[in-house]
């Protein structure tokens, strides 16, 4: 009995030791432990005592570093948690950390200065500012990510060349005042810019599905952190403004003129840094968030669909409504991507996957209704830049959602694996950026800048 206790204690210590490797999940440790116990039992049957059997079994399991490396190669998604730790381990001293903080603060201030300068430069021309605001902020975000990844010259060129081209197009095109092509360009520029941020994020390995999925995770966590920062900043600012007002100082000009132009873009860079540095904190929230919002989104989609059908004549569907519906579908897509990125690809099909399929199905139905509405509108009133842009986006969404639904169904019926669904997402994503680039660059001349 005492021997058994000793063995249990040894196995416990071994478990603790293996568990510290973040690439080996606790289910994997269970699996390895089962192996270890099987081996120990067999070795004891050949006459070894507990200690010897344990030592031999551990030895046969192999060098833990090498085994972890092998796990890491297979489960690179688990490394996501570790990414931030890697540079720390290699440097060992706290100095680079401070240097990173300094770089982040400098870039955040830089983004603020750029936006403030943009506001001063464009003055009252709000549309010109809207066209350029993304161009003013994104370089600082990309610079941080590029610096962090020690991006090579080719990556820098791959980002800088399209960036410059985009800046030129947006500022040289003779947009007709209050024309829709300008508004379309303003709406689609961020998508193209986000692709450039993605290029900075994945650095050289833009072909890698895994790195693209990391970028999807990054985007999701960035949105969460940014919201948290905005909430915190809003509360702080509101309280300060309240106090200042009570003592007779009007904080309004300072807040709109100086605090917001620095805080809003600066927070983006800081949020990116937080995502890079503290991935572990949010990682546990992501699956929970997607689980809460998937059923809620299904309810919303069904309600919307019912309202659309009940309202009758699709031709009279308001243009604003169509835009709003597009926003809803993009939101559904973001939720889908985020939940796929947060899911363990090896886990068997579960209720959450069924819910996801229902959500995608509902979104497909909404998309089909909208496409019908749009085609009817186009047949009735002819084409316009807005209609073609919306039609294109909806077709892209239709293909994306349709194939996602098909792959999810295949996975649920046991005919496919989850990673196929993942691959489909990561391979399809650049199509959106390509379409956005077409809307920004080709649409204005095509429709006479109207």
């Amino acid at each position: 009995m005492a021997h058994d206790d000793e063995l249990e204690a040894q196995i416990d210590r071994w478990r603790g030791y293996v568990h510290r490797r973040q690439v080996i999940s606790s289910a994997d440790v269970d699996e390895l432990e089962d192996h270890l116990r099987g081996q120990v039992t067999d070795l004891r049957a050949t006459g070894l005592d507990d200690d010897e059997a344990f030592l031999v079994a551990i030895k046969r399991l192999g060098n833990l570093d090498a085994v972890s490396r092998e796990y890491a190669r297979e489960h690179s998604d688990r490394l996501w948690k570790q990414l931030a730790l890697v540079p720390d381990d290699s440097s060992g001293s706290p100095a680079p950390r401070w240097r990173e903080l300094a770089v982040v603060i400098a870039l955040a201030v830089g983004a603020g200065v750029a936006v403030r300068a943009g506001i001063a430069w464009f003055g009252d021309d709000e549309l010109a500012l809207a066209r350029n605001i993304g161009l003013l902020v994104v370089p600082f975000l990309a610079a941080y990510l590029g610096w962090k990844r020690r991006a090579g010259l080719r990556t820098v060129a791959a980002i800088a060349v399209p960036f410059v081209a985009l800046s030129v197009v947006l500022n040289v095109y003779p947009f007709v005042p209050e024309g829709s092509t300008e508004v379309l360009a303003i709406l689609h520029t961020p998508v193209v810019l986000w692709l450039l941020v993605g290029l900075a994020y994945v650095a050289g390995s833009w072909r890698s599905d895994g790195r693209r999925m990391d970028f999807v995770r990054f985007t999701g966590e960035l949105a969460i952190y940014y919201t948290l920062l905005a909430l915190g900043g809003g509360v702080l600012l509101g309280l300060t403004a309240g106090v200042l007002q009570l003592v007779g100082v009007d904080p309004e000009p300072v807040i709109t003129g100086w605090v917001m132009p620095f805080a809003v873009p600066g927070a983006l860079v800081v949020a990116a840094w937080l995502v890079e540095a503290k991935q572990d904190v949010v990682e546990n929230i992501a699956p929970v968030l997607t689980r809460i919002f998937t059923p809620l989104t299904i309810v919303m989609l069904v309600a919307v669909l019912a309202a659309l059908i009940a309202s009758g004549g699709l031709v009279e569907v308001d243009r604003d409504l169509l835009i709003l519906m597009d926003a809803i579908l993009v939101l559904v897509l973001a939720l889908l991507l985020y939940s796929i990125s947060a899911r363990d690809p090896l886990a068997p099909p579960a209720l959450a996957d069924w819910l996801q399929l229902v959500m995608v199905g509902a979104a497909l139905a909404v998309d089909a209704v909208m496409l019908t509405a749009m085609l009817t509108r186009i047949a009735e009133f002819g084409t316009s830049p807005n209609k073609v842009a919306a039609l294109g986006l909806n077709l892209l969404l239709l293909v994306h959602l349709g194939v996602s639904a098909w792959r999810t169904a295949r996975f649920l019926r046991g005919h496919g694996v989850f990673s196929e669904l993942e691959r489909w997402q990561t391979r399809y994503l650049p199509v959106y950026a390509a379409w956005a680039a077409v809307v920004v660059i080709v649409f204005p001349p095509l429709f006479d800048f109207a």
Binding site: A27, D28, D30, E31, L32, E33, D34, H35, R37, G38, Q39, D42, R60, L61, G62, N63, L64, A66, V67, E70, Y71, R73, E74, H75, P345, L346, P348, G414, G416, V417, S419, E420
Partner: protein, 120 residues
């Protein structure tokens, strides 16, 4: 005789798939079967089997389920899928070509292996 590391790595996938084609097994039982089949001459680093199994699972060649062992502990069982059977058939065809070519070479050339073994 120690089997070369690269050769072990190359044969691991078809071996595991072939063993699973005979019936569902858990990790340790797969390794024991490898030992039996090779008369104990093929030694793997045990820990490496699991990342391999996980990779095969991700590729859809095997599926896994958690059960309990005789001692009542959690145990993960692996089963081959239709895709896995197709992959196995493909590998079998490849290996028989290799084996066939090697056999012909062995027949036409002297056998240095036995000499080396004699000295060792």
């Amino acid at each position: 005789m120690r089997i070369d590391k690269d050769l072990v790595a190359a044969s691991a996938t078809p071996l595991v798939l072939g063993i699973l084609a005979d019936g569902d097994l858990y990790g340790y039982a797969i390794l024991k079967r490898v030992g039996e089949l090779s008369g104990g001459r093929m030694q793997w680093t045990d820990g490496m089997l699991y990342p391999l199994l996980h990779r095969l699972e991700r590729l859809g060649h095997v599926s896994s389920s958690w059960g309990t062992s005789e001692a009542g502990r959690r145990r993960k069982h692996y089963a081959i899928t239709p895709t896995g059977r197709a992959a196995l058939a493909e590998r079998q065809a490849q290996w028989s070509v290799v084996a066939d070519a090697l056999r012909q070479v062995w027949e036409s050339a002297p056998r240095p292996a036995t000499v080396v073994e004699g000295w060792a």
